[in-house]
């Protein structure tokens, strides 16, 4: 650790962000209170859940690091909450300030390589690699692109991983690699970039600053961006310090790290404040367990791409139609943007439009087609185009592909499946959360389209109309729902903290809607009824598009004081609730499956009563679940201890029956 004077000076800012924020008199998100009850234990649990899908080496590494941190910090669960943890944080700070202080927290290269010993497992079988070698040498590889990719992605990798990553790229020979963009789409934030962006009609990601999808004017955008960008520069410095204190030295100021500090409260806090834009792809990939996925599936992506090159089916048909409708307001996706005569867009999916499509669109096609092939139970689902599209702005295609797999396997499972079952489940969970945590809002939205209140036992069978709005938040993970920078911040947190992030952010948006003066005014001036529900729908749909400043959303979400403190909604709660809702739905779907259009009302009733009798004892257990849910949900604060108590009781009861 070099004792650069700069670093010494900025150290206190790292430790005492509040003071810095006050100094600047600006809205900086530095002092997000970490009020996760769940905390790192929760992260561990999260990781354990992830392990279900056999992708655990990175998670294991993170787990071990977490354990490492935890043991180091003893009882300090929350490094923000100084009152409860008086001793530990200073110790930690000391380790930043004084590299000579012995501290296990300090990431030295040796401890670091030790952590990654798991990766060594993958290094051993050289036979597989050599068998692929002829393929690699036989192919035509654009060396400039190789070089570009090396510079971009793999500079910081330890040797073993570099070989793997390289190997994967090497096995791309049949791919039309000339389509691949070698340079990063996202430039680092410096004064030059800022000036250029301020002068351009496009933002740093290539999106039009003003669009038909939101009401943000060019002036609004530039005013916000000029401030936010300065903040980003400051944040980058902090990230550099964090990297340094973890033994992750960067070769140059422009280098993109490929390794990031292990999970800890400190890192979590930094992530919530935002990852530097140009590091995002790399950081997302790292924390989501991308390396593990990639290393376990060496060459798989390029093989799928080869296999699906000329494939045509139901999925590819829909993909073709969506390619040009993915980010039509982004210069990397729409080459006609800004020109008036973009006629070829009307002939979607024809050979004509292919000739004018951007490299990005070609890449998007490969990723989506490959994904549909790899996950046949999902195939192609609209909204995956937005997810893949956004990933591709931040990382190369193979990584984007595996991130899409990680998202749909672990984070929001079944949300994109053929029957969208996960959407229904998660909307049920979200509505139960709204009912529990924002009862004032539930009083308004817990109604059917005609404005009649939904009785408690109908929440899951008849989701309120507003779930049509919120489903899109889950399916697109806020892409297109929130302004881009705000979306990216949510994604920063999502890849690090997991699916609870989507629920926490959704609840935050809901509560922000509720507290918006415009919303309040429209409520007070009207009665209730059908129009009311419609207006609520419209408001909830449009409101998030106006949250230009990510810090507003994030502060509201996580701050205990001055925010809503939704950081206390734990992954455990979400998981339990998901399980509950999906069980309920499974029962209901079974019965629903026997109903057809031709039936009269009497026939339906007959069918239902007959299925009732065939279910018998099993139906009783639905009752129990319902009772379980009710006693938790009605009025009682749904905290973890009650959940656990109820869960135990439920388990006991069901096991005693069987």
């Amino acid at each position: 650790m070099a004792t650069d004077p700069d670093i010494v000076i900025s150290m206190p800012a790292l430790s005492y962000p509040k003071a810095r924020a006050k100094e600047n008199g600006k809205h900086i998100q530095n002092d997000i209170h970490n009020e996760d009850n769940d905390n790192e234990q929760d992260n561990n649990r999260d990781n354990n859940n992830n392990n279900n899908t056999n992708d655990n080496s990175i998670d294991d590494i993170n787990n071990s690091n977490d354990d490492f941190n935890n043991s180091n910090n003893d009882n300090s669960i929350d490094d923000d909450d100084e009152s409860t943890t008086p001793s530990s944080p200073p110790r930690r700070r000391l380790s930043y300030l004084d590299p000579s202080t012995p501290s296990r927290h300090l990431r030295t290269p040796s401890s670091y390589s030790h952590n990654y010993s798991l990766l060594d497992i993958y290094d051993s079988p050289s036979s597989e690699r050599s068998s692929m070698a002829p393929l690699a040498t036989g192919g035509l590889i654009d060396t400039s692109i190789m070089k570009g990719l090396d510079d971009l992605e793999f500079k910081e990798l330890s040797n073993d991983t570099t070989i793997f990553a390289r190997h994967t790229i090497d096995s791309f020979p049949e791919l039309d690699i000339s389509d691949q963009e070698s340079e990063s789409y996202v430039q680092p934030t410096d004064q030059d970039t800022i000036d250029r962006i301020l002068a351009s009609p496009y933002d740093r990601y290539g999106f039009k600053k003003t669009s038909t999808h939101h009401n943000i004017s060019l002036e609004d955008y530039n005013k916000w961006f000029s401030e936010y960008a300065q903040d980003a520069i400051r944040r980058k410095k902090k990230w550099n310090l964090l990297m340094k204190s973890n033994g992750l030295q960067l070769d140059s100021a422009q280098a993109i790290p490929t390794r990031f500090p292990p999970k800890s409260d400190k890192v979590k806090k930094m992530i919530r404040q935002g990852i530097p834009a140009e590091w995002r792809g790399s950081a997302w990939f790292f924390y989501a367990g991308g390396y593990d996925k990639l290393n376990k599936h060496v060459g798989v992506y390029s093989k799928i791409v080869r296999d699906t090159k000329d494939i045509q089916n139901k999925d590819t048909e829909v993909i073709e139609r969506d390619l040009n409708r993915t980010f039509p307001d982004n210069i990397y996706f729409n080459s006609h943007i800004g020109t008036d005569a973009n006629t070829s867009v009307t002939t979607l999916g024809t050979e004509n439009s292919r000739s004018s499509e951007t490299a990005m669109v070609k890449t998007l096609r490969r990723v989506l087609v490959a994904f549909a092939h790899y996950q046949p139970q999902i195939g192609y689902c609209q909204s995956l185009n937005f997810l893949a599209g956004l990933l591709l702005l931040f990382m190369e295609e193979e990584r984007a592909f595996w991130m899409l797999v990680i998202l749909t396997e672990r984070i929001i499972p079944k949300v994109h499946s053929a029957n969208l079952e996960g959407v229904h489940t998660d909307q049920g969970v979200l509505m139960l959360c709204v009912k529990e945590y924002i009862p004032q809002l539930w009083a308004i939205l817990g109604k059917n389209f005609e404005g009649e209140s939904l009785s408690e036992d109908k929440i899951l069978t008849r989701l309120p109309p507003v779930t049509l709005v919120t489903s899109s938040w889950f399916m697109s993970v806020f892409v297109g729902n929130l302004p881009i920078e705000t979306t990216l911040r949510v994604w920063d947190i999502l890849w690090y903290e997991g699916s609870k992030t989507i629920f926490r952010i959704s609840l935050t948006i809901c509560k922000m809607c509720l507290e918006d003066p415009e919303f309040q005014n429209s409520r007070s001036s009207k009665g209730s009824g059908e129009m009311d529900q419609i207006e609520l729908f419209q408001f909830m749909q449009n409101y998030p598009k106006t949250i230009l400043e990510p810090n507003v959303l994030i502060d509201n979400c996580f701050k205990k004081i001055g925010g809503y403190g939704f950081g206390s909604l734990s992954q455990d709660e979400i998981n339990k609730c998901r399980e509950f809702v999906s069980k309920q739905r499974a029962k209901l779907n079974y019965k629903k499956s026997n109903i057809t259009a031709e039936m009269t009302e009497e026939e339906r009733q007959a069918l239902i009563s007959s299925s009732d009798s065939t279910f018998g004892a099993e139906d009783q257990s639905i009752h129990d679940v319902y009772g379980f849910h009710r006693s938790i949900m009605s009025g009682v604060v749904w905290n973890k201890s009650i959940s656990n108590k109820m869960k135990r009781r439920f388990v006991r009861r069901t096991s005693s029956r069987s």
Binding site: E450, S471, G480, L588
Partner: protein, 215 residues
């Protein structure tokens, strides 16, 4: 029910993905066309006030939907209480034409309207602005096959439109509004409150479950 201040007519636009549902709605409501519409996820709606026959003021609430088949499972909530359903196809995409029947069936299942036999549907063939060569070969004949098929055919008014150039869009929605108003009046006259829970089989099931099986 006639005492209601505004007559609100709910119109649902259905059809395969990419046929131009969003464009049709935008062209009718905002008189604009853009090449930059994103694929619709979930559902969206716009409202427009129009007068029918020069005197009757109505508010059209037009629902735009995601075209991919699997999204139909999300549609239940807003199909309910619809006054008219617009079935869209793309004149350059034969499959989208062939799928109209299943869109209709799906709508009837989900919405469970009281009069499936004479519920107002309308068919819109969009993108007539494209080159003749790209259109479905012998389109009219195929269209006739679909609309005049006596067994469960789609014997409904057909409009060929261009959302891009604004051709026939206004005319189509005028007819849609009239049909929707008729349906709304019919429902009112029957005292048939479509908002009722009668059509939700699952609800009935739950109620019977919570009250019935004490044995």
């Amino acid at each position: 029910m006639s005492g209601r201040k505004k007559t609100l007519l709910k119109v649902i636009i259905l059809g395969d993905s990419g046929v131009g549902k969003t464009s049709l709605m935008q062209q009718f409501v905002n008189n604009k066309f853009s090449h930059q519409y994103k694929a619709t996820i979930g559902a969206d709606f716009l409202t427009k006030e129009i007068s029918i026959d020069g005197n009757k003021q109505v508010t059209l609430q037009i629902w735009d939907t995601a075209g991919q088949e699997r999204f139909q499972s999300l549609g239940v909530a807003f199909y309910r209480g619809a006054d008219c359903c617009v079935l869209c196809y793309d004149v350059t995409n034969e499959k989208s034409l062939n799928n109209l029947t299943s869109w209709k069936d799906e709508f009837l299942v989900q919405s469970n309207v009281s009069n499936p036999q004479d519920f107002p549907f309308i068919i819109i063939g969009n993108k007539i602005d494209v080159d003749e060569a790209k259109k479905i070969p012998s389109l009219q004949k195929k269209l006739q096959n679909i609309t005049n098929n006596q067994l469960g055919g789609l014997n409904y008014p057909v409009f060929e439109t261009s959302a891009k150039d604004g051709i026939n869009v206004e005319a189509a929605f005028e007819v849609i509004a009239k049909m929707a108003l008729q349906q709304e009046e019919l429902n009112d006259a029957n005292g048939n409150d479509v908002s009722d829970d009668y059509n939700d089989a699952i609800n009935i099931h739950l109620e019977s479950e919570s009250s019935g099986c004490a044995c």
